[in-house]
């Protein structure tokens, strides 16, 4: 899509400008120690500050370049897809927490079932593949690699 580039660049450069400003000012909270506290080696803040300044300048150039470009159409946002990605991230976070609680096997079976469906797999696929995948990974880690997978705190 024409014009998508500059807008993307504007978003990215604004974000990185904000990050660099934050890094620069947050660095002020790092105390320098000892004598010659303003020297590079004694002051832990100088290096991040230097990076922040460089990044700020580069981002500013990117922003200006993007603003100068003429073709600025609408950015194509696919909200439906973004929502799916968001849901998926939440599912993964839940998976990790559930794994800590009930251990590898139950959590992984649940996750694989849900994930296959989220990737537009059929229910049949999800039902067929959940068990074999869970146990294949289990045997791989447990027996081939000798890594103990989490057992969970509820059913030890």
């Amino acid at each position: 899509v024409k014009g998508e580039r500059p807008l993307k660049d504007i978003v990215f450069s604004c974000a990185s400008i904000m990050i660099s400003i934050f890094v620069y000012f947050y660095s002020n909270t790092f105390a320098a120690v000892g004598k010659n506290a303003d020297s590079f080696i004694k002051n832990p803040a100088l290096y991040p500050k230097m990076l922040a300044i460089c990044m700020f300048v580069l981002s500013l150039v990117l922003l200006l370049k993007a603003l100068i470009k003429k073709e600025k159409d609408k950015i194509q946002f696919n909200f439906a897809r973004l929502k799916k990605v968001f849901v998926f991230v939440v599912v993964i976070i839940c998976y990790i927490y559930v794994m800590v609680l009930v251990g590898y096997i139950i959590s992984t079976m649940l996750f694989i079932f849900v994930s296959i469906l989220l990737y537009k797999g059929s229910k049949r696929q999800a039902l067929i593949y959940t068990l074999p995948i869970t146990f294949a990974i289990y045997f791989g880690f447990n027996y081939l690699l000798n890594v103990m997978l989490p057992k969970g705190v509820i059913f030890p």
């Binding site: 993307k8 660049d9 990215f12 450069s13 990185s16 660099s20 890094v23 947050y26 660095s27 790092f30 105390a31 320098a32 120690v33 020297s39 590079f40 080696i41 004694k42 002051n43 832990p44 803040a45 290096y47 991040p48 990076l51 460089c54 990044m55 580069l58 981002s59 150039v61 990117l62 696919n78 439906a80 897809r81 799916k84 990605v85 991230v89 993964i92 976070i93 990790i96 927490y97 794994m99 800590v100 590898y104 992984t108 996750f111 694989i112 994930s115 296959i116 989220l118 990737y119 797999g121 696929q125 593949y129 995948i133 990974i137 690699l145 000798n146 890594v147 103990m148 997978l149 989490p150």
Partner: protein
């Protein structure tokens, strides 16, 4: 230790188990490489936790197998479905697919396997010849040399990555800032930890990589449709046909391998670039340039031998300078560090058997690649029909289990997810991720040496810089090259404006 021992001392570590691991690695690599959307970089990052329980040499051997295999695997889907399995196979598509359409898919893939192997073996020879020499020079490197080489590497990766150099550089600076998190060792002061105990030791590199390259790819595939089933089906047969034309392709393979090794050895530039460059060179000097893009064997040979020659090339700076040659080798550093070994010139003195085992494993990996490529490609091709829903699910599960179960900390898993989201945002905004990875590896080295150097300079930075550059050729060359690379986009613009003006001038004269 005499010079030649370096090539033999590793044999004792090559048990049957290690050879099997290499073969498994190569097979996984080929499979991952063949599947569009999954790259060798992703496979290596996801498999690093798997390599932790193994010994260093075993783990490295397997990962190197994956690295080599993936570079070849991309050509299978390139020939069969007209989609490069990895970006390194981008030029193989041009000639491989037309050949397959003519019913010569077997010949195309066979030739890819053969030339890949020759390129790979050539690069091992180059690696084992040059890295000890370079390491001897690098042992005398002081702060300024290391700083300039690191900055050079970052500028190259920013220059060659997709998007603009500017965005690549910003991505690199983000990476450099990210690795300042944690304890600052010279002063024992916490930086950017925000009071979190978990951040004291900094951001863990491996979970970050798995997120950035594993999870992020998976997230961007959500909602893309369940599987891209292809209508065409080519039969892979008569692979042996590919041996016959080898005789007249020999010169091309050697030339492309040299290009591959050199580009691989430049920090930052990887196999995609070398495939593009050697294909371009070959097309320009070929006697039959009109055949390129229509199923030219020369094209396949040039692209495939050079992209696999990059593997050995990329290890040259890693082993001899401690600076990774491309993104995959940057991730490999994670495997070294986990086992308490820092790659770099000292490796040749302190752990020669590891270096030696790396050379030998690469050789074994390339031979395994040839055998598997010739005998099993038709079965690997079947994997292209596995539904994406199942494949992606398995990969995400591996990402999570890999990061969580190895260190057993929730924080690492959270890091992985966070970087997965970051990587997803990066892909959506067309920001290259490779500069960030390289920056995260080079960051500590850069800071330490920059601070050490500034201590020597003692406030008179510019004067000291000029003074040292005058006597220190390596740094001088690096600085000049860095400036050239960073100015290259501007020069290119100027050049195009200049030539356009000239052309306009000609037209108006007529």
């Amino acid at each position: 230790m005499s010079g030649f021992d370096l090539y033999t001392v590793g044999w004792s570590l090559m048990s049957l188990e290690v050879v099997m691991l290499i073969a498994v690695g190569v097979m996984l690599g080929i499979i991952v490489g063949a599947l569009p959307g999954l790259s060798g970089l992703m496979a290596v990052s996801v498999l690093i936790p798997v390599s932790y329980p193994l010994e260093l040499v075993e783990g490295l051997a397997m990962l190197l197998g994956v690295y080599c295999g993936a570079n070849f695997g991309g050509s299978i889907s390139a020939c069969l479905i007209n989609i490069p399995g990895t970006s390194a196979a981008i030029m193989t598509v041009l000639d491989g697919y037309p050949l397959a359409k003519r019913g010569e898919a077997g010949k195309a893939i066979g030739l890819a396997a053969l030339t890949s192997t020759i390129g790979g073996i050539f690069s091992i020879v180059a690696l084992s010849a040059f890295s000890p020499m370079l390491a001897r020079i690098a042992l005398n490197f002081r702060s300024l040399e290391l700083v300039t080489v690191a900055i050079f590497g970052l500028s190259v990766v920013a220059y060659v990555s997709e998007g603009s150099t500017l965005k690549g550089l910003i991505s690199a600076f983000l990476g450099l800032i990210l690795v300042t998190v944690g304890y600052d060792s010279p002063t024992a002061i916490q930086r950017f930890t925000f009071g979190s105990i978990n951040l004291l030791s900094g951001i863990q590199f491996i979970p970050a990589m798995i997120g950035l390259f594993g999870l992020a790819e998976m997230l961007s595939m959500i909602g893309q449709g369940s599987s891209e089933k292809t209508k065409e089906r080519f039969v892979i047969q008569r692979m042996m046909d590919s041996f016959a034309p080898l005789k007249r392709l020999w010169g091309i393979i050697m030339r492309s391998s040299v290009i591959g090794v050199i580009i691989g050895a430049i920090p930052g530039a990887g196999s995609t670039i070398s495939a593009i460059v050697s294909y371009g060179v070959q097309k320009r000097i070929s006697k039959k340039p009109e055949e390129f893009g229509k199923g030219s064997l020369e094209g396949i040979a040039a692209a495939e031998s050079s992209n696999n020659a990059t593997t050995g090339g990329a290890l040259i700076p890693l082993l001899s300078l401690g600076i990774p040659g491309d993104a995959v080798t940057a991730v490999l550093v994670g495997a070294f560090i986990y086992h308490g070994i820092v790659p770099g010139p000292m490796l040749f003195k302190s752990n020669p058997q590891v270096v030696s085992a790396i050379f030998i494993s690469l050789l074994v990996a390339n031979i395994a690649m040839l055998i598997l490529g010739i005998t099993c490609s038709r079965y690997f091709a079947l994997l292209l029909t596995v539904p994406r829903s199942i494949l992606n699910t398995v990969i995400i599960a591996l990402c999570v289990i890999g990061t969580y179960s190895i260190s057993n900390t929730l924080f690492d898993a959270a890091t992985m997810v966070a970087f997965g989201v970051l990587g997803f945002i990066f892909t959506k905004l067309d920001i290259p991720r490779a500069p960030m990875v390289l920056a995260m590896i080079l960051g500590p080295l850069l800071e330490e040496n920059l601070r050490r150097w500034s201590n020597i300079a003692d406030g008179k930075y510019l004067a000291t810089l000029v003074e040292t550059l005058a006597v220190n050729q390596i740094s001088l060359i690096m600085v000049v090259l860095t400036v050239l690379i960073l100015c290259a986009p501007m020069l290119k613009n100027l050049y195009s404006i200049f030539t356009r003006r000239q052309k306009n001038g000609e037209f108006s004269n007529n």
